[in-house]
Symmetry: C2
Subunit: 404 residues, 2 copies
């Protein structure tokens, strides 16, 4: 498997575009993204488990009932959630886009991201559709990735290639963060394209498997959004024998999908609102993967661990405390903890007890922009890694006046 450039246009058969429609006022930032497939694609999506779901998710669910799609449209600046006419707005946008692209409205995946509870005027979006479609390009991934950003400070793109039965299969995608991030069986907006030939059932299965070990293992602030969506389109243009069951081809495809989703997920965590660093927690020696995952997520979700990471203060008691309340079973008297970055490591806890350590080394390790917390339970053979970020004054600043 190898990484390639091109984001959501890396796979054969996809073009993309991004424009400023005006959903976000007082700025010229792009706020409307489009991904378009040259031909009918198999398609699948996962959605937020939040009981409050945004209107476009309901529309997309119905559109994807047949397992195929042609296009993805998404705006930033307004979540189209918790307003009376949200579904009508989403359907209007789909209808206008379908007309412009000469496809059916039910071939469109639609989503929105931004403020909740404020009506999204359909006209602002539909007026921009001609320019959006005109802008479609094989190099359009940058524009589309930029257009779905909200408080993100950088775009999120990834692509990778694998061989399946002698054919090169490409998987690519774009995603956005960067607050209200605590995916639960789904994620923030992430749109994946691939030229693999794969049934919508297998695509859905691969999304579920991949999501479990990527987006479901990140957290910025513990808040699961109303608009989370992970959607994928597969054009089949790679010419591989169609994937219709969990065979070697499926596993190769899943490997590339995991690579792309993993990279996008980590970039969401790293760009968490106000964050200065990517913080990961690898839990080893657990009795099950589920247990390791629960513990790792407990640690990277803790406000106290996050604030300590910001201050580069090696207060490992915060880590033990978070492990202890995570809800997963382990023996507190066998836990070893160390902090790692750039090949340096500092052991701070052995058998659940604090170790004397070099404070200068610890501060250097914790001050880098990627820090791993390594927890060894010295029990079973399972492990899992979760990704988050530090908690900074900037997070508070951003969210103290999000609407204004």
């Amino acid at each position: 498997m190898k990484e390639v450039a091109g984001g959501c246009c890396a796979a054969k058969g996809f073009s993309a575009s991004g424009v400023h429609a005006g959903v976000r006022r007082n700025t010229s930032k792009k706020d409307l993204a489009l991904i378009f497939a040259d031909l009918d694609c198999t398609a699948a999506a996962l959605y937020t488990t939040n009981l409050v779901q945004a209107a476009p998710l309901h529309v997309t669910k119905r559109n994807l009932a047949g397992g195929t799609a042609r296009a993805v449209i998404a705006n930033s600046g307004n979540a189209n959630a918790c307003t009376p006419d949200g579904e009508e707005t989403a359907r209007e946008i789909c209808a206008a886009l379908a007309k412009e692209l000469a496809v059916r409205p039910d071939e469109i995946i639609i989503n929105s991201t931004g403020v909740i509870g404020v009506p999204l005027p359909a006209g602002i979006v539909t007026d921009a559709i001609p320019a959006l479609v005109k802008g479609l390009s094989r190099d359009g991934s940058d524009a589309a990735a930029a257009a779905i950003m909200t408080t993100d400070t950088c775009d999120k793109q990834a692509a990778a290639q694998v061989e399946i039965a002698g054919k090169t299969v490409t998987v690519g995608g774009i995603a956005k963060g960067s607050g209200m991030i605590h995916p639960n069986m789904a994620t923030m907006l992430a749109f994946i394209t691939t030229d693999a030939a794969i049934t919508s059932e297998m695509l859905h299965a691969a999304l579920r498997e991949s999501n479990r070990v990527t987006y479901s293992r990140i957290s910025v602030d513990g808040d699961t959004s109303t608009n989370d969506m992970l959607a994928a389109l597969a054009s089949g243009l790679a010419g591989n024998p169609p994937i219709g069951q969990k065979d070697d081809g499926y596993r190769a495809f899943l490997e590339a999908l995991n690579h792309v989703n993993g990279k996008l997920a980590r970039s969401i965590a790293r760009d968490g609102e106000g964050a200065t660093k990517l913080v990961s927690c690898l839990v080893r020696g657990a009795d099950s993967e589920e247990c390791a995952e629960k513990l790792a997520k407990g640690v990277i979700s803790s406000s106290l661990v996050k604030a300590m990471m910001y201050g580069a203060d090696a207060n490992f008691g915060r880590v033990l405390c978070a492990l202890g309340y995570s809800g997963a079973p382990f023996d507190p008297r066998r836990v070893d903890v160390s902090f790692l970055s750039s090949g340096e490591s500092v052991a701070v806890c052995k058998d659940g007890m604090g170790l004397p350590f070099d404070e200068i080394l610890a501060r250097r390790v914790l001050s880098r922009d990627e820090v791993q917390i390594l927890v060894d339970l010295r029990g079973g053979a399972f492990e899992a890694e979760a990704f988050g970020c530090d908690l900074t004054e900037k997070y508070v600043e951003i969210n103290g006046a999000y609407r204004t």
Copy 2:
């Protein structure tokens, strides 16, 4: 029932003291507290559900096996948690105190609060015990309450009286916050004294009932501490007919206990690390109390709701979002939300949809130092209220360099 002064010395038979022992260096702040009963008390305690539990909790559990106690000792500045010799240290302190007070070591409730994983030298505490005991006074609640403070900005004391069978029964107590607060079946340090005559079984039952509707309904940062403890001593000096079952006397006692615990719990939430205001969420119209509680706690625990409260930004979508991922069932299309403070209210959501509202009124309501989020599910007849605080830059500042 009426509120009275005196904190943990309000009830008959108790004196208290607080001194600077030197556990906290570079400061002259009091860091060692003592509550002493004139005679044998029935006693009970609840402990953190964190799998990682501090050494003094293990010692206290053994000491309370017989259901009686004479004294409570607690230091701040060091949690005596996750160090090799923690239990030995706790036992040494109990032994020294027992000798000075002429009681048995197993009649002592002991706890610590502060940094985790750093050894607590027993000598620092034991050297201060003579002065601590000498300082015991019927007016000592202020000193004891001050000595258990860590990042708390004010002490937490409360006391109330009820009549039981013609006798006046007093319940009082002290508590401390103010970070790592997300009590789960237990609380941060809270020590309750009463002159009620009550068996240790009924005292334990009352603690459990009261904790469920007080400390278990607050959150500052979602982190459940390794040292949480809610302990109570009952001297019996009020002369009421001994409470040995859940009769009218028990219910009157529980009312006073709930009042004291409720006040202490709210003062912990209000004084959350870095907080500028008390934020409560009252959920009404739920199908069960459990459901209402889960939703209310979900809202006050959300980082986004907390940051929005700090910024006085009426972004009600954050509230709906938090309700939606709380894990409790409700119908999102029937939810009404309003914000209240000082007799003013602003309705922001009806039937799950945003309402137009007066932004100036909303900012005024949210800018006060006590704000209630009222959620009406318009379903069943159950309700619950949870208490938290806002999330500020100060929280990050405090916890970025907690040890230094």
